[in-house]
């Protein structure tokens, strides 16, 4: 095998002079090589196949302080380069190496880097490997982000993770992700999450139900609109979003129920803008 470390070292060093004169500037910025110079390095690595990519990953350090910047930059460059169109096989090799090493013995921070790369270029086959981190206290947000980017198969993984997700940010992350995916199969789980002890999770669940656009979300949305302060504002948001979706789907009676409720209950002057929106929408429904 070619000397991988020597290939990594071929990438240019960081700038030795400040980017510009001035107090805010300092050395250490990355100018990077022209694509044609980088491609020669990428091709040399790719010629060695998956073991070379795995070897580069193994050089990554837990703390990202710039010491391994060439390896990180090279891995990202390989992912982009092989995504150009004619290099499908090489792309699968690169992504496959990311997937296999995500299951390997690496520090969490390195796994976070790999999940980030899979968010950029991973496909459905990365889903299983990424989903294992959906309830990891350090990596759940990265994992959910990657699955949302990959999209295909993401809802199944998120739906499966929801019941066991720890309360708080992690559960909230999964709930809002299911909402973004408009996963109709998650209605029951989201309805339960709308009664969660954590306000952010309740808000996310009501929004998720609204974004799905099912009439089964009406009760939760209206309850949110009766909450206080931020949760109330977000409850109204869920109401309006759900009503718009229901109206667009021809479910005018359900939409009217929401608008009618808002029109009759937003009696304080500070919420008159909501009352007016609801009244206008009710009028438009007729």
């Amino acid at each position: 095998m070619a000397d991988i470390n020597a290939l990594i070292a071929k990438l240019p060093d960081l700038d030795k002079s400040p980017a510009v004169k001035g107090a805010r500037s300092s050395p250490g910025r990355l100018t990077g090589p022209p694509w044609k110079d980088a491609q020669a390095i990428y091709d040399a690595v790719l010629a060695e196949g998956a073991p070379a990519i795995v070897q580069i990953i193994k050089t990554l350090k837990e703390v990202d302080d710039g010491a391994d910047f060439k390896a990180r930059y090279l891995l990202h460059g390989l992912a982009l380069y092989t995504g150009l169109g004619e290099k499908k096989r090489e792309h699968e090799t690169v992504v496959g190496a990311f997937i296999s090493e995500l299951a390997g013995d690496h520090p969490k921070a390195v796994k976070g880097f790999l999940i980030g790369e899979l968010q950029a270029v991973g496909g459905k086959n990365a889903g299983d490997a990424v989903a294992k981190y959906l309830t990891d206290p350090q990596l759940f947000a990265d994992a959910a982000g990657a699955l949302l980017a990959i999209r295909e198969g993401a809802a199944e993984h998120l739906r499966a993770a929801l019941p066991g997700a720890p309360a708080g940010r992690c559960r909230c992350q999964i709930v809002q992700s299911l909402g973004i995916l408009r996963d109709g199969a998650s209605l029951a789980g989201l309805q339960a999450a709308a009664e969660d002890g954590d306000a952010d999770t309740r808000i996310a669940a009501r929004w998720a139900l609204a974004n799905i656009g099912d009439a089964g979300g009406v009760k939760a949305a209206l309850k949110g609109a009766d909450a206080k302060d931020w949760e109330r504002i977000q409850g109204v948001k869920a109401c309006l979003l759900l009503a718009e979706k229901l109206a667009a789907a021809g479910k005018k009676a359900d939409a009217a129920e929401i608008y009618g409720y808002l029109e009759s209950t937003r009696t304080d002057k500070s919420e008159s803008y909501v009352r007016r929106i609801a009244a206008d929408a009710l009028h438009a429904l007729k």
């Binding site: 960081l14 980017a19 510009v20 001035g22 805010r24 500037s25 300092s26 250490g28 910025r29 990355l30 100018t31 990077g32 090589p33 022209p34 694509w35 980088a38 703390v63 990202d64 302080d65 710039g66 010491a67 910047f69 990180r72 930059y73 990202h76 460059g77 982009l80 380069y81 995504g83 150009l84 980030g116 968010q119 950029a120 947000a141 982000g145 990657a146 949302l148 940010r169 909230c172 992350q173 809002q176 909402g179 952010d200 999770t201 996310a204 931020w230 504002i233 109204v236 948001k237 309006l240 718009e244 002057k269 500070s270 919420e271 008159s272 803008y273 909501v274 009352r275 007016r276 929106i277």
Partner: protein, 417 residues
């Protein structure tokens, strides 16, 4: 009852006690936010808040006075106020600010990764918004802001005002009129923008060791929707611009200033480029870096070229066909007669007037979104290292699923569009 005269310095130095002493009746109490007829509030004074108090913050808030708005500072919010926050006039969490019923207008001068979310939250709470540039960090955020502006019937103005000056010049009005008239089905017009995009200055650094955040900084809230990265000082302050987590480098940060007048003049503020390519080194996943040029072609053939002059070879292109004389010469006499019958574009409504009359502001969310999308799309081409095609209606990259992932980027809970 009295009105306290605010200056920019006065705002910045305003003590909690002084702010709390303001007793005028803001318009919201009288239903101004619901679109009351102008002039019904006895004071014409608006309750205001500034979210993001470093950098441009004071200037952004202070600008409103010059717009004919008497805005009284009732709250300041910044993630750097962790040690002084009292949740009465000084906040670290913007949600506590938008909950307040006595605030009518919110000025936003946080780093850009917060612009969309706070703008949307403010409008959901019935506030009008003056938001610093760049309006957003990625494409989908801008559409969400525009939807909130429409849904809640609020006023939004981005903190770039170049289009207002552009729109006052008769020749510029004619250029816009021709380019939006539909009389030129296709145009070979090309505009090369060589500006100070501060490419090197606002590129990020990747050789910094993580350190503990300062005691006064709520680092988790600072990161907000973006990755909870280990703290390094350059991720905050003005240098945040070099990190994709918060901004789009010098291009993302400066571009809206430069493109805002042009998108108005060229009638590009209702659409988006359809083909985008760039010359740049391979991108880094964390920091914004160098680029030479980005070429953005619209469906009607109009091409916009951005040149950095800080890396690589320039595009080699020169502007052509954008002068009024060139455009006019492309029209037939019959077309010229038709053009004469067409109305001039509507004058742009300044933010202050928009707040009072409830007309859309000249730099409203939809127009500002279309402008900032130029930079977002150029950055996508730079970051992907390949040409992309974009659908201005669906606002999706066509045929490149990986590039499309940068159009709508995931957010860390509890934040979402």
């Amino acid at each position: 009852m009295h009105q306290r005269k605010l200056t920019r310095r006065g705002f910045l130095q305003g003590s909690a006690a002084a702010v709390a002493a303001v007793t005028i009746v803001p318009p919201h109490v009288l239903g101004a936010q619901a679109g009351r007829p102008p002039g019904t509030a006895p004071s014409e004074t608006f309750g205001g808040a500034l979210i993001g108090c470093g950098g441009r913050g004071g200037g952004t808030f202070g600008q409103m006075k010059g717009m004919g708005l008497n805005v009284v500072s009732l709250a300041r919010c910044d993630v750097k106020f962790k040690d002084t926050c009292d949740n009465k006039t000084i906040y670290t969490d913007f949600r506590r600010v938008v909950e307040r019923k006595d605030i009518d207008i919110i000025a936003i001068a946080t780093p850009p990764h917060w612009h969309a979310l706070i703008s949307i939250a403010a409008m959901e709470a019935g506030k009008d918004v003056l938001c610093e540039k760049p309006m957003t960090r990625f494409v989908a955020e801008g559409r969400a802001v525009a939807q909130a502006e429409k849904r809640y019937k609020r006023i939004f103005q981005v903190g770039t005002f170049g289009r207002f000056g552009m729109a006052r010049q008769p020749d510029n009005i004619q250029v816009r009129k021709i380019l939006t008239s539909g009389l030129l089905k296709q145009t070979e017009a090309l505009y090369v923008a060589q500006r100070n995009f501060k490419v090197k200055e606002w590129s990020g650094k990747i050789d910094l060791a993580p350190e503990p955040p300062p005691a006064n900084l709520d680092w988790d809230m600072y990161c907000g929707p973006s990755t909870l990265a280990p703290y390094v000082k350059l991720r905050t302050g003005m240098t945040h611009r070099g990190y994709w987590d918060y901004d789009g480098g010098g291009l993302g940060d400066m571009g809206q200033h430069y493109m805002d007048p042009l998108t108005w003049q060229f009638g590009l503020d209702g659409t988006a480029p359809v083909e985008i390519e760039a010359s740049a080194p391979p991108a880094h996943p964390v920091v914004a870096g160098m680029w030479a040029w980005a070429k953005l072609k619209y469906a009607n053939g109009f091409t916009l070229v951005l040149e950095s002059r800080e890396w690589g070879e320039p595009s080699g292109l020169a502007s052509k066909g954008v002068s009024l004389a060139d455009l006019s010469s492309a029209l037939t006499d019959a077309d010229k007669a038709k053009l004469k019958e067409m109305p001039d574009p509507r004058p742009l409504v300044p933010f202050g007037e928009a707040v009072k009359t409830r007309q859309p502001a000249g730099g409203n969310a939809d127009a500002a979104h279309r402008t900032v999308c130029i930079m977002h799309l150029a950055n996508i081409a730079i970051r992907m290292g390949r040409k992309i095609r974009f659908d201005p209606v669906t606002e999706q990259v066509i045929g490149d699923e990986e590039a499309n992932r940068l159009v709508n980027q995931p957010m860390r809970a509890p934040w979402h569009l």
